[in-house]
Amino acid sequence: MSLADAFRITLRAIFANRLRSALTSLGLVIGVSSVIVLIAVGQGTQQGVTDRIHGLGTDLIFIESSRAATTSQAGGIAGLAETTLFQGDAEAIEAAGIPGVVAVAAQVSVEAHAVAGSENVGVEAVATSSRYADVRDLEVASGTFITPRDDEGRGLVAVIGSRVAETLYPEVEPVGQEVRLSFVGGRLILPFTVIGVLEEQGGANEVNDQVFVSLEGMAQRLRFLFTPTGDVRVTRIDVQTASGIDEDRVKEDISNVLLYRREAIEPDFTIQSQDDLLKAATEVSTTLSILLGSIAGISLLVGGIGVMNIMLVSVTERTREIGIRRAVGATAADIVKQFVMEALTLSLFGGIAGIAIGVGLSVAVDGRELGGQQLTMLIQPWSVVAAFFVAAGVGLASGSYPAYRATTIDPIAALRME
């Protein structure tokens, strides 16, 4: 029997039982579409995280206290008293003249609400020094960034990100205006004078939603930031390095400077380069992708079992048909061909519909918000190709055993059946 004839028989059988065929394929539709969607979510998340890390700038090294919680985790100021990192550390690193270190800036970042007139917006308030503009390559659209004079003084000055400026001052020029920052749910409210607006940053850049204030000014108001020796507690130190340098070497030099300052052997800080962050993020999202992929894989397996189940039922139901076909000259191979092709066709229908739905769904939800998080979907061509071949494989696998069973049917008994 030619393949074309076998395919004609297959289509007949499938269309004779439209609803059942559709339901059988549905298992694979769901399996294949979820494989594609979940892989797209996993890869999209990875892309998003990678973009954010790249968005920080280039050739950066981050030092964090291994004890204090960062802003997003602690959500407030309370955790700051725990930190083991200081403004003095940043100055020491800068003063050490480590080859490859270009600029160093310490920061305290806390979540806050920025209020101006009747407008208000949630921001990340970053208390830092004038050096931060060099570290992060920040340019002002108007006014100035925090100046070295602000580093010394008690003034409460703020430089706001472009999106913050748009929200708070839709009508007026922000520079010179007052912005009030409200911390820890309104229990602490401080008035700042806007001295600059940052240029808009492209891509997934956090800077647009940040407000930069002078660290010294803040410490004067939040006295607990001061240590007994007059140093200022910070949550993070960013180091800008020259490009093309040996990062590990710089990390080690920085570590030595900090350990020397502490007269300690064990570090109470962590030093990570952008590459370290990228590696960690990739590791996390690879694990995530594998996890999501396996969940989707299970639904594919279930779909395959569904196909096999229906094929077994179908073989039993068509015992007499099989007997008739054998009587008019069908070989065992012809019978196998018929049933395997039927399972394969059902699976491929399901697979192709699943690809269409999976890709469609991924495109439809790309960029939408889900629980405050923006979904980034990255459809991987390999996942589409793989889903297609897995569907084909499922079809072959789930059709083979029923087809074999069909060949063991005794045609004489089958023909006698009423």
Binding site: M1, I324, R325, A327, G329, A330, A332, D334, L415
Partner: protein, 234 residues
Amino acid sequence: MIHLRDVARVYSAGETAVHALAGVSLDIDRGEFVAIMGQSGSGKSTLMNIIGLLDRPTAGEYRLGERDVSRLPEDARARLRGRGFGFVFQSYNLLPRMTALEQVELPLIYQGAPDRRRRAAEALVRVGLADRIRHVPTELSGGEQQRVALARSLVVNPLVLLADEPTGALDTATGEELMRLLTALVDEQGLTVVLVTHEAEVATHARRTVRMRDGRIIEDTGARAGARAGGTAS
């Protein structure tokens, strides 16, 4: 053409063995019209199935023409069955939801034969169903369905047509009509027919009657002396 020598078919059902055929020797020539009669359970259908290569003997020899087919592998039997034999059963055995034309095409599909449509249509014309080509079984009378089955067995130009109680489900008049059709095919086109029947009336159409009991042939009106002695005339 058909030469059976001491053919036995034993079914082992648990402890006891059923001798459906207990040593049958039979020769059938081209163009013969043989009726096989006998009580229920005497082995008629078993004999037909062995002749038609649906079943294989547990002992004995089966030669088709010059060829020993008793120990042919399954695939070769399937192909030879499709080309060499046409079956007509009491219960028609048509496929549901397929038109008469498609039913008749079926054996040709498995042969990979060319010109299937035309040959199938011609076979339907031969059995007088030219105007029922597009009908499915549920739209056909019993007699018409049996004629579709007949056309399906004729379309391959078989060596032998094997009909197992073809009139069993038909009323007398329709059965008679079918028998006249068969007789005409034997007379005018030299078809070889082996027919199993319970009805003496039906058997009268045949030129030769073989009577069976308990898996043995007890009477054969056309037996030639050579058959039992192992002659090879075909």
